[in-house]
């Protein structure tokens, strides 16, 4: 029998407001342990939560960007459970009436557009962090993270493969980064993902027993965990067994999921200290007006407006900073496709090599445009430009300055090139002979020699024509 995977994701995203959700403590990342704490986030007797209005704004912005309906009235509840990283023994969350519902994220598996539904998006507080020392008989507790603002985004079980889940997460992340509510760094924990997955016979409408997988440390882990669970559950089903509804943990080192706990019941109760969150239409519209053009819209526009291939457009719009950089460069240079080529090849290469992020770029769009203009004017060759580009990337210097300092101006002087060409012909009689005998390759060798002589600065078109002429003359 063939089985179909049914996958839903629960994604937690840390909002980067300046202060925590219910107190004035800083949300600074990687501060010394337990330095951003107060009686409220430590769960001291008689401390009460105070709503941070920015969290509501950030969350509403996210809800709108994810095409959700925003509830004009929502409320906080407590999820009661015991764990050392949870100071109050309850997490303040929104269980009964969440902030947002019924949204979607668009994905394009195999070039076909598909919507992954978002069932619920709500606000909640984060827990602290337990650090277990290898072999130690105790654990360290850091409560800086306790009370950090989160949104939880619960998708519908609309995904059918690891690939679709991966696309969903990617697009979700890009959207949230675009609207600047979170940096969504999975590795740093500012975006966390739990998987819900079940299998069912292909064609069946009924859902199978759902297994939850936690502890996914990267996008790759999400993909691998889904693939592992698909196989594990299929093996059980094919052997006539039944899948248990349980929570499992992804073990990155072993590449498997491990049983964590069975399905228990939860204790929720209304949070009595916080007033309901009332969002007026006016406030909602104001927030909506602050949502920038979203990645999928931008991508379509780039394809139409700049004639970019779909692939280039999707890479460039995957980062808002890169997309802005691109559009800024377009203002100063006439050919959008050439700009995109430089970004897709040269820029991506250096970023990969150096591991630097697009936001650390030292040079400006104007500088890139200036460099392209220098190529067009024949001041530098395309080949030299690659070196100029790297230097610009490294130092942020103006291309004109780089060219001048490094003496990279293209040699376009007919007489000078001719004398160099003559010298090369003289020194390479064997190649000249080969050329005469019809070996085309010899020609490029000679060109290479001229380039070597001029340290790559020779105008390639001129070298070609001069060399062809001289060889004919022999």
């Amino acid at each position: 029998m063939k089985y179909e995977s049914v996958i839903g994701l629960e994604v937690h995203v840390e909002l980067f407001t300046k202060t925590k959700i219910f107190c004035g403590c800083s949300t600074e990342f990687a501060a010394d342990p337990n330095t951003h704490c107060c009686p409220i986030c430590l769960g001291m007797p008689g401390a009460l939560p105070l709503m941070n209005k920015s969290v509501v704004e950030f969350a509403t912005k996210a809800g709108l960007a994810l095409n959700c309906q925003i509830a004009d009235f929502s409320r906080f509840d407590r999820k009661n459970y015991f764990y050392p990283d949870l100071p109050k023994a309850y997490q303040i969350s929104q269980f009964y009436i969440p902030l947002a519902r019924n949204g979607y994220v668009e994905i394009e598996p195999n070039g076909q557009k598909k919507r992954v539904g978002i069932r619920i998006m709500h606000m909640e507080e984060d827990a602290g962090k337990l650090v277990h020392e290898e072999g130690g008989s105790y654990s360290h507790l850091d409560l800086n993270r306790a009370g950090m603002p989160l949104i939880e985004i619960v998708s519908e079980p609309d995904m059918r493969s690891a690939e679709e889940a991966w696309l969903y997460l990617n697009n979700l992340r890009t959207i949230l980064q675009y609207i600047e509510v979170s940096d969504c760094k999975i590795e740093e924990g500012s975006m966390r993902c739990d998987i819900n997955i079940s299998l069912r016979p292909e064609g069946s409408e009924q859902l199978g027993t759902r297994v939850e997988v936690k502890n996914l440390g990267s996008l790759r882990a999400v993909r691998r965990a889904i693939e592992f669970e698909e196989k594990r559950q299929r093996d059980i089903l094919e052997n006539g067994g039944t899948v248990d509804g349980e929570t499992r943990r992804w073990d990155e080192a072993q590449g498997i999921t491990i049983f964590m706990r069975g399905k228990g019941s939860n204790r929720y109760s209304p949070e009595p200290n916080l007033s309901p969150i009332i969002i007026t239409d006016e406030w909602k519209e104001d927030i909506r007006n602050h949502i920038p053009e979203l990645p999928n819209v931008k991508k379509e526009r780039f394809i139409k407006e700049y004639g970019l291939p779909e692939y280039d457009a999707s890479i460039i719009t995957a980062s808002k900073i890169l997309a802005n950089f691109y559009e800024e460069t377009v203002k100063y240079y006439h050919d959008p496709k050439i700009i995109s080529n430089w970004i897709m090849v040269e820029l991506m290469n250096v970023l990969n090599e150096t591991g630097e992020g697009i936001k650390d770029l030292k040079f400006t769009p104007k500088q890139l445009a200036d460099m392209l203009i220098m190529i067009d004017k024949g001041i530098i060759s395309g080949k030299i430009a690659k070196d100029v580009f790297r230097e610009m990337f490294k130092t942020g210097k103006n291309p004109e300055d780089i060219v001048r300092e490094k003496n990279l101006i293209q040699i376009s002087d007919e007489a000078e090139l001719e004398s160099i060409a003559k010298k090369v012909i003289e020194n390479n009689p064997k190649s000249v002979e080969d050329y005469k005998n019809g070996k085309e390759k010899a020609m490029s060798f000679l060109v290479g020699q001229i380039m070597k002589e001029t340290k790559g600065k020779a105008n390639p078109q001129m070298v070609n024509s001069i060399l062809t002429r001289l060889l004919k003359e022999i």
Partner: protein, 487 residues
């Protein structure tokens, strides 16, 4: 008259006239504490040094325009006091010293109040007798074999024995009014949201309030004026402006309409003496030309169950934070795993009644039973609130006994927490509705004080104080403690 017997009003007069100093007053009360604390046991922490120090600095400032300046007071031990132990009278917080003041304490400190110490209470304010305190029981000054009531029993006993001029208590289901009634003093539960709860250990967050326990109604008005008002640290505190309680105190009560809910006055649990005392009080109001009529609060019979469900469910959540991880008691025996750690820490750290409520409340708030119990209890609250709203359309105030009986014997009827809650029959219903209510002495039964409860409309503290004041002017019940108590 001895200094410790003074009311706030009288003491302030003398301080202003420079006939006494805050230090003399404080010393006298500290002596009084030395004299009778072994018999009463009202306090769990006495801060002699701190009290004398702040009395001295208040004298140096020599500004007694604020009626609370230089007046020694005590606070229930669930009200956080910076650098002064706050235990909730539980082993769980036996050595807990808060790094912050509750808002009510900071407000009093700003007025140069003298904090004498922390008073005994039922563990985490669950109880009606102060017998569940981890430390010791408190004796009722009127009869040392009897309880002072609870859970603010220490505060009420301290005021009744003149071991302080006034005290603060907390009232989640009658914990200010019931002990005030048992000890023959005045206790006021403000409207939910009138007084900041910040820094007062939560028990049931939708019902918790903080209120004064005083020797008479005027003092009550003075203290309430000082602690009431919106607080940016309590999101449930109200922005409704605070009335001038003192100014309205002496207004005529003629023509006011008073309703007497018959379901409460004639409840089988109410003793004959208590009923008679309340009926006498009604006569007094009729003599003052108030219009008194019996009314029906027709859903009152469901109040006790709704109260208990709400209390247990909310307390089970609020008390979860005492887990031995960050502060407070931690088991010293070996534990196998995290679960075992929690079991031992919380099993050893909490007393029987607290655990009884936590276990009940945990069950009630389970996903599976939420609709059946907690949600239903909240629906009952809404119905009861509507009943009150209806009553207040026709009447300005409602009158009931504060408690069905007078103070019971120490050791009596404490086995069954549910029975214990019957003491709160007339008071906890008020917490369900969030309304303000005051208890003041209205007579005696076999030498023990009986309390009268006056319930007002939301935020009409001025009204209940005014009505209480009018009654107090017609008797000497509030001063009899000085002659009739046992210490």
């Amino acid at each position: 008259m001895k200094l410790h017997e003074l009311t706030i009003e009288k003491a302030n007069e003398l301080l202003k006239k420079k006939e006494i100093t805050a230090q003399e007053l404080t010393e006298d009360i500290l002596n009084r504490i030395d004299e009778c604390e072994s018999k009463i046991g009202a306090y769990v922490t006495i801060d002699k040094e701190g009290a004398l120090k702040s009395a001295k600095s208040t004298d140096e400032k020599a500004d007694f325009t604020d009626p609370l300046a230089g007046i020694p007071m005590s606070a229930k031990d669930n009200i956080c006091t910076k650098n002064l132990k706050t235990t909730c009278c539980s082993r769980m917080l036996e050595n807990f010293v808060p790094p912050y003041d509750a808002t009510v304490i900071s407000k009093l400190r700003e007025r140069n109040a003298i904090i004498l110490g922390k008073t005994n209470m039922d563990e985490f304010a669950i109880g009606s007798s102060t017998q569940t305190s981890f430390f010791h029981t408190t004796q009722n000054p009127w009869d040392l074999s009897r309880v002072p009531g609870g859970s603010s029993g220490g505060s009420a006993a301290a005021v009744a024995s003149d071991e302080c001029i006034y005290a603060l208590g907390s009232d989640t289901g009658g914990s200010v009014r019931q002990p005030a009634s048992y000890c023959g003093v005045v206790g006021l539960k403000p409207t939910y949201g009138r007084v900041s709860r910040f820094g007062v250990a939560s028990l049931a967050a939708t019902m918790d309030t903080i209120g004064p326990i005083t020797k008479n109604v005027t003092d009550c008005a003075i203290v309430l004026s000082a602690i009431a008002g919106q607080d940016s640290f309590d999101p449930t505190s109200s922005d409704i402006p605070v009335d001038n309680y003192l100014q309205k105190l002496k207004n005529d009560v003629k023509g006011l309409k008073i309703g007497i809910p018959k379901e409460l006055l004639y409840h089988e649990a109410v003793s004959k003496d208590v009923k008679d005392a309340v009926l006498n009080a009604i006569k007094v109001y009729e003599d003052l030309e108030c219009i008194c009529e019996e009314i029906s609060l027709k859903n009152a019979e469901y109040a006790m169950s709704a109260y208990l469900v709400t209390l247990a469910a909310e307390a089970s959540s609020e008390l979860g934070q005492y887990d031995g991880i960050r502060y407070g008691y931690r088991t010293s025996s070996d534990y196998q795993d995290l679960k075992d750690f929690y079991k031992k820490t919380r099993g050893e750290g909490f007393g029987f009644d607290v655990k009884w409520h936590i276990i009940l409340g945990t069950y009630l708030s389970d996903e599976k039973y939420y609709d059946k119990y907690y949600l239903k209890a909240q629906k009952i609250r809404t119905i009861i609130k509507k009943d009150f709203d209806e009553a207040f359309k026709k009447y300005d105030f409602l009158i009931t006994p504060t408690t069905p009986t007078t103070a019971f014997k120490i050791g009596e009827s404490s086995d069954d927490p549910f029975k214990m809650h019957m003491n709160d029959l007339c008071v906890s219903i008020v917490n369900l509705a969030g309304l303000p209510a005051i208890s003041l002495p209205c007579g005696f039964s076999k030498g023990l004080p009986v309390g009268l409860q006056i319930i007002g409309k939301a935020f009409d503290e001025a009204g209940i104080l005014q009505v209480a004041y009018a009654f107090e002017q017609n008797n000497d019940y509030h001063t009899r403690r000085i002659k009739e108590r046992m210490v």
